[in-house]
């Protein structure tokens, strides 16, 4: 069993009208099964309302499945006595950078998680230092979070989770509210966590260029897993992605259009270098 495993997970919630009567039941997650290996970089893609965030919230026991089971590090998320262990081993970063920073000073915010866990004072300081260094925010440790840019705030949030020494970090659209520079900084920090610290990363996003480095991609639609595979496998299905309200990077789209026009190119081109290389081959051939 991997670090996170879901089996036939269904999540339903009731819609109520103004008087509080049940109007209907919405199924946000529909029979999802997945198994995530320790150390992997996983991306979960999907349009707004596809159920990807709801699924993510099952991975650190903020939500519980209506049916089916989720295991985090081998523990069933419904076992109440394991709740805090689960939340410690699977940390979560949310979308809005302003609404998840509790501390008034960067270092105090990063210390918040370890404080809650009852970590001794001296060790809290060590953890705060190493976490802030890991995301490149150590020199801002005395700053007020209100004065930071969006990308910097999200890096502080990541450090805050990192200081809890999790085995896995779930990032729920961490870049949706950032500008391109902020997005780049955050993605760089996330990749470093995976490469250097060997932490399992589950990145939920709808930006296609962010998933190129993932080991495995799941695409969600209507609460179900609609596609899964390596980024290359996913990106080779341009039409299918479009029907799921997603798009592909310009270079992949260009390669796809060229192929349609009879140019001989491999499937699922992800970078400019790949396309240029393939076209060069083409000219020779």
């Amino acid at each position: 069993m991997g670090i996170i495993k879901a089996k036939d997970v269904i999540y339903e919630y009731m819609r109520r009208d103004e008087e509080g009567n049940v109007e209907g039941i919405t199924r946000a997650v529909d029979k999802v099964s997945l198994d995530i290996n320790q150390g992997d970089f996983i991306a979960i893609l999907g349009h707004n309302g596809s159920g990807k965030s709801t699924l993510a919230k099952h991975m650190n026991a903020i939500l519980y499945p209506t049916e089916g089971t989720v295991w985090v590090d081998g523990k069933d998320t419904r076992e109440e006595e394991e709740l805090w262990n689960i939340r410690q081993s699977a940390g979560m970063v949310f979308q809005n950078p302003d609404n998840q920073i509790i501390g008034q000073v960067v270092e105090e915010d990063v210390g918040f998680g370890p404080e809650n866990m009852g970590v001794p004072t001296k060790e809290i300081w060590e953890r705060v230092e190493e976490s802030l260094k890991a995301v490149g925010m150590y020199k801002f440790r005395k700053h007020s979070p209100n004065k930071l840019s969006g990308g910097q705030k999200q890096r502080v949030s990541i450090a805050g989770v990192l200081a809890m020494h999790p085995k896995c970090i779930i990032l729920d659209e961490p870049t949706a509210m950032l500008d391109p520079n902020g997005r780049k900084e955050v993605i760089r920090a996330i990749r470093a966590l995976n490469d250097v610290e060997k932490i399992t990363v589950i990145l939920i996003t709808h930006y296609m260029e962010e998933i190129i480095y993932a080991d495995k991609v799941y695409v969600m639609d209507d609460g179900k897993i609609a596609m899964q595979g390596t980024p290359r496998e996913i990106f080779s299905q341009v039409e299918k992605l479009k029907s799921l309200r997603l798009d592909v990077p310009q270079v992949t789209l260009l390669a796809y259009e060229l192929k349609k026009r009879g140019v001989d190119l491999p499937d699922g081109i992800l970078t400019t270098e790949e396309l240029v290389g393939a076209l060069k081959q083409n000219r020779k051939g």
């Binding site: 479009k242 798009d247 310009q250 259009e257 083409n282």
Partner: protein, 284 residues
Amino acid sequence: MSLVLDHVSYIYGEDTPLSMKALNDICLEIPDGQFIGIIGHTGSGKSTLVQHLNGLIKASRGHIYYNGEDIDGKEFDKKKLRSNVGLVFQYPEHQLFEIDVFSDVCFGPKNLGLPQEEVEARAKEALAQVGLSEEFFTQSPFELSGGQKRRAAIAGVLAMKPQVLILDEPTAGLDPKGRDEILNQIKKLQTETGMTILLVSHSMEDVAEYVDRIIVMNQGSVMFDDEPREVFRHYKELEEVGLAAPQVTYIMHALKEQGMLVDVDVTTIAEATEEIVKCLETLH
């Protein structure tokens, strides 16, 4: 009929130790009917700039003329200006407040003091322009999906019948399809009504297909102001200030370096496809 900015500067907290220059000597002319993209990263002054155009912020130096009249002049009617130059803020759905979508859209025209009939006619027209059908009129704005909320909010400004429409990051937080839908709707609006549209964005790729002109803002100044293809020629300079030309620009330049005789000025995927196919055909 046009907007003219004449040496406009804006300084935050002037005469305090924390004063900061947000806009620096901006000169621009915005003629009628253009579709313009204003590009810059956070803090480049692009949002401050557009708030000057409908008089929400007063320039520290310089003058802004709407149809030849100084908007800070004594006789000038600011309220009228705000109906003529409509401004849709970032995440406009955060300003919805009425019990149903229709009443919310009516808020703007009602503030103009129009008769009830006219108010309702305008609201209907505006909702049609953003592609929201009648079934949504009676719904609470808070029950709509993200994309629908945003449309409702844009309709709220359109209902004031502006001649110039400014949208600050209208696609922020939307998924790719939602983004394309909104941008296409705006393009359609522009073609049908001939309205002047200013689209503030931090993504060149998003606006390249739609706009006639790109104004690049950097550190409170205008860095480039030209047709998209002319602006993207400076892709190296753009990169230095943390902005990027569309990926297709990079691809075309890389191909040219490899000795392929392609036009590096193309801005869209469709144009690029044609270019490459043409180039390969002449080879074979």
